[in-house]
Symmetry: C2
Subunit: 215 residues, 2 copies
């Protein structure tokens, strides 16, 4: 797959955090592939302690906009993804996960007892904020995958932290679903006339600074 | 790039959290491409408040191993990446970042005043743990990109949280560098004879559960 990763770097250079989108819809098969790549993201223990809300409906996106400083790309996008972590990771949820793994691999669940205990010691009984922060990191792994997958599809994507999580949770009734929003991602196409960042040079830390080769 | 993303999904299905590696070295050009894709990861404000330590030296990896429950892939890998966030995000660091953006884009730094203020209000004066957790999320975006980029290169990669951050920081003198380790990533090749997970079926949350389409 040599050629592919050259394309990956090209795709990563092509993308940017799009501030204005043009309303054109992303074809369903592209959305599906972006979501499938995201679904395949790794996570600690493979637990994936989050849910991703997929919002195409324009009215609902307009309702979310005020909770995100009225950023235009929320309404101008084709789709909005809301990455939301599980508020409560219970022994039942862990047990359900273990059963799923056992079933998928065709092995008895009790052969996974040590694995189950390891997960429980990570997610049960710790301070809720510590567990939340751990779950949020897993969601960010998935967010990173989604951004890359969108770029490969030549779909613009804007990862966003600039929003009020409580307000978004309220609009989407996430508390009742046991979820807390941690990041947004718009999918769509850049508005080349109105986005002042379209032609801005991409800035990243220089590799000599970002990477430190040891020893 | 239609075909490319089909490859991305194939690559994501091919990869898994490799527990045993065979010691074969990853060619430098592949490592370079994985690092370059990682460098291009998005981050909040574009700040990239982390440093990635790149360790090829076998002796140093052996020294890290006890801090990571002696997991064999650390020594059996070709390279170990340590994702470490900045312990202290100072106004100087923000100012240095703003200067870099201004220089790269050929604009005066004072046109970026609002941007600078926004970054400062996020990273200065908040509880250190809140800033740390925020920085860790950014590092996880980069970790997610690195995992995808490795898969595209057909290089095995194991993202790892199973280690004692304080112990790793001590071995690598990270505190003196103002860094705190948050995740490890080994790069190398699967040991198909000794890794019991080689033939294990990949388990992910079913798309009907992971994604919730609203309204």
């Amino acid at each position: 797959m040599e050629k592919t990763n050259l394309d990956l770097i090209k795709a990563m250079n092509w993308r940017y955090a799009t501030k204005r989108m043009n309303g054109i819809k992303v074809p369903p098969e592209k959305v599906d592939r972006i979501l499938e790549a995201t679904r395949l993201s790794p996570s600690s223990f493979g637990l994936q302690p989050y849910t991703i809300l997929v919002i195409e409906d324009h009215e609902l996106r307009k309702k979310i906009q005020p909770a995100a400083y009225n950023q235009p790309q929320i309404a101008e996008a084709s789709h909005l993804l809301v990455f939301a972590v599980w508020e409560n990771i219970t022994t039942e949820k862990v047990s359900e996960f273990i059963s799923h793994v056992a079933e998928m691999r065709g092995i008895p669940a009790d052969t996974l007892k040590d694995y189950q205990t390891a997960i429980e010691s990570k997610v049960i009984g710790n301070p809720p904020e510590a567990t939340f922060n751990w779950a949020a990191r897993q969601a960010y792994l998935a967010l990173g995958t989604a951004v890359v997958a969108a770029a490969v599809e030549e779909v613009d994507a804007t990862p966003m932290e600039g929003f009020d999580p409580h307000a978004v949770d309220t609009v989407l009734h996430l508390k009742a679903k046991g979820l807390r929003s941690v990041a947004l991602l718009t999918l769509g196409y850049r508005d080349t006339e109105n986005d002042s960042l379209v032609r801005a040079k991409k800035v990243r830390r220089e590799k000599e600074k970002l990477f430190v080769t040891l020893p």
